[in-house]
Amino acid sequence: MPNAKFKIFRGDRLKGELVDYEVPIAPGMVVLDALHYIQAHHAPDLAVRWNCKAGKCGSCSAEVNGRPRLTCKTRMDALPLEAPITVQPMRTFPVIKDLVTDVSWNYAVNRKIPPFTPGPNVKWKMDQRDVDRVQEFRKCIECFLCQDVCHVLRDHDKGEQFGGPRFFVRIAGLEMHPLDSLSRTHLLKDELGIGLCNITKCCTEVCPEDIHITDNAIIPLKERVVDHYYDPVMWFLRKLRGKRE
């Protein structure tokens, strides 16, 4: 088999460039295999994050030919090999070195979210159908590709006012948990800026876990916020039931 040509970003926060490498192709090879080959043969200090190499940990995110992907699941035989394959770090986050970016902002956002809070005297029984809905959200492997592609973060740099798709998915998982008793609509509206999302579905398209981020998480959460703040009937019912904030 012929060699594949790569152009890989080498550099840090201050400067960097695309560097050419060549890698022999093996059957079934993925881009992460090629990066490991380059480390072992050409560039021992090439910085790459990875762990499971099986699409389960969400560590090896990068932009392959400009598209946010898990490199461990990006097959070389699915890419055009006439031109070099470019591999660059996720653009939304500050580069640390080469393909490794500073994703600490995500961990800071996560800390703002109140945890699962069961009501008093809960009976720990749940129907599989109710669980199914939430399990979809809990498939998230925190690869942060949805955060990377989201134009509110990527182009408009609204990290201060906006939580991003990953954390809407996390909140959806808590809000729709059959036994959770807390409402997080205030947080969604005021601190995590869910209103800034104009449902272009870019996040859903890049999700390696096929989570229907927009349809199943963001839109229902937007509806909750609308119901909470702008629906007089819901406002009245809430006064009667007194759901906790």
Binding site: G28, V30, A40, N51, K97, V103
Partner: protein
């Protein structure tokens, strides 16, 4: 002191942020300790995330006859009675409570029709016992623990690696490490240290383990004077992917067999009939791994040297619902639709039964101030671990280690960090930069993996093991000549050079113990000693450092109390 080095002070320092480390952190926090967790990767990426099949706990939701006694008996039988029986007892008794607790912290398990936690069958378990979330149970567990821990206020030092434990006279009082991002050194001062660093699979060529699994914790403990136990028992999981080459070793969950998957050789024969006609595909892992290996070796393997594992007789929708990540893994990485045809599978280095010797109740090692839990600790699983018992192990003994570490911290008194140890440790880490020429860490790693695979693999014999030990000596000499290029800024070659030191220590311990144990038991199969030996059933191999040398001795296993004996000998 040590103003040169960034220093952090905590009551309890936990090394490793998988299930055991995070559960230990939550327990220690619960007792009011100031807790730090240090991990080589980002938080939430530890190997626990790869666990698929489930958590074994005798909840009796599906099979009402199940109870801790049966779980205890299964664990002891699976481990061929080499287990620390007290650990096996505590584990079986406490696992259900630990699962319930996870649910109360927000984990969402699959449900029974009555709305209880659903449990599935698994190899070696008498009853349906594994609480699960499809085939991504580990992800559910780590996310639940991670969110809980962060909410409670653990300090997490991510992408930070520990290279040396620091001692004050006889006790452990902290650790030296480096930030992967900047390469700068960092000192942790702590009254107790918990090792929860997982296993050693990266020393073998075909493995289901991630890059982190380099035996760091065991090597750190060994160098600090702690004992390593049962190091010869390395579990090869029967079913890893075998094709294409890049995915070789990636785990195929035992849940495929738990859900009814069958194994066949290239002639279409369901060969487990010849190895374990009673339990068939749900025999213990050691037996199934050897069966697949033997079929391939004797010419009945698949095109790529494995066996066929087939679940396609089940309805496609069922397979996709119960084994979603397997479905995607094969479709995306191997172009195989598992709802339509068989997978090709073969053994892959998966789990370390051996590790740091600890007290059953407290996870305390033989060195004061040092604790260990999870895969890094030895004892619970004996010579072979049952599937599902690792996740429960992490929860049960992670919690106990966290509690004991925080209690120890309360009584520890003032500590002294020895500047000389810090300086020495820092200097050792920089040596590989200073060489004008030398070995590539990547090449050395490849050769180590090849050595362990060829000479210390599934089937062993004396000439191979001796040859393996010789090769390891050569590799150690080469390791002293490793040269690293580039700067200290996020430099994987340099990081690997550090990890290699740990891998070489644990590899030698494995080979030495394997040579010594002249019998076959559980995961340790000696071609030259194919049977059980009664004497070896009554003793553990112990490795310890004495005068800079690796020394091996045997320790007798304590007599089991009468009431446990009765349980073990009871009906199947």
């Amino acid at each position: 002191m040590n103003e040169k080095f960034e220093t952090h002070e905590h009551d309890v320092l936990i090394i490793g942020a998988g299930g055991a480390g995070l559960r230990a952190a939550i327990a220690a926090l619960g007792q009011g300790a100031r807790v730090a967790v240090v991990c080589k990767s980002l938080l939430g990426k530890a190997h626990t995330v790869m666990a698929e099949g489930g958590i074994a706990a005798a909840m009796a939701n599906v099979d009402p006859a199940d109870d801790w006694r049966t779980h205890f008996r299964d664990t002891m039988r699976g481990g061929k009675f080499l287990n620390n029986w007290r650990m096996a007892q505590i584990h079986a008794q406490e696992a259900p409570e630990r699962v319930t607790e996870l649910e109360q912290w927000g984990a969402l398990f699959d449900r029974t029709r009555d709305g209880e936690i659903l449990q599935r069958a698994f190899g070696g378990h008498t009853f349906k016992r594994l609480c699960h979330v499809g085939d991504r149970t580990g992800l559910e567990m780590i996310r639940t623990l991670q969110d809980r821990g962060v909410h409670l206020g653990i300090d997490v030092y991510m992408e930070c690696a520990i290279t040396r434990l620091l001692k004050d006279e006889t006790r452990v009082v902290g650790a030296l490490g480096y930030w992967r991002e900047t390469g700068r050194f960092v000192v942790f001062k702590a009254k107790s240290v918990v090792i929860a660093t997982g296993g050693i699979g990266k020393a073998w060529r075909i493995t289901s383990n991630s890059w982190e699994y380099t035996g760091d914790g065991m090597a750190l403990a060994y160098e600090a004077g702690a004992e390593l136990m049962d190091m010869e028992f390395v579990q090869f999981h029967p079913t890893g992917m075998v094709w294409p080459p890049g995915v070789q070793g990636i785990l195929v969950t035992e849940a495929v067999r738990g859900e009814g998957g069958v194994l066949r050789n290239k002639d279409g024969e369901r060969f487990m009939e010849r190895y374990d006609p009673e339990k068939m595909e749900l025999s213990t892992r050691d037996v199934v791994a050897r069966a697949i290996y033997t079929e391939a070796k004797e010419g009945r393997g698949t095109e790529h040297g494995g066996a066929y594992l087939d679940i396609s007789h089940k309805p496609a929708e069922y397979v996709k619902r119960k084994l979603p990540s397997m479905y995607h893994q094969f479709r995306e990485l191997a172009d195989v639709d598992i709802t339509q045809g068989p997978m090709e599978v073969g053994p892959t280095c998966h789990y370390m039964m051996g590790g740091i010797r600890v007290e059953a109740e407290s996870a305390q090692t033989s060195v004061p101030g040092l604790f260990a839990a999870g895969e890094a600790a030895a004892g619970l699983h004996g010579s072979n671990r049952l599937g599902g018992n690792s996740l429960s192990d992490l929860l049960v003994f992670g919690r106990r280690a966290g509690q004991a570490a925080s209690e120890h911290a309360n009584q520890a008194g003032p500590l002294n960090i020895d500047a000389q140890q810090v300086e020495e440790g820092a200097r050792a880490m920089l040596e590989s930069f200073e060489k004008p020429t030398g070995e590539s860490p990547y090449e050395l790693h490849r050769d180590l993996q090849e050595t362990m695979h060829s000479y210390v693999g599934i089937f062993r014999n004396e000439p191979d093991l001796k040859k393996g030990l010789e090769e390891l000596q050569t590799l150690k000499e080469r390791a002293a000549r490793v040269r690293v290029e580039g700067s200290r800024l996020f430099n994987p070659g340099w990081h690997l050079a550090q990890d290699l030191k740990s891998m070489l220590i644990v590899s030698e311990a494995v080979a030495m113990s394997a040579l010594e144990r002249q019998e076959s038991r559980g995961a340790h199969s000696r071609i030259d000693y194919p049977d059980y030996a009664e004497t070896w059933g009554k003793q553990n191999n112990i490795i310890q450092r004495e005068a800079q040398q690796m020394k091996l001795k045997q320790l007798p296993i304590a007599e089991m109390p009468e009431e446990l004996k009765q349980i073990v000998e009871g009906d199947k």
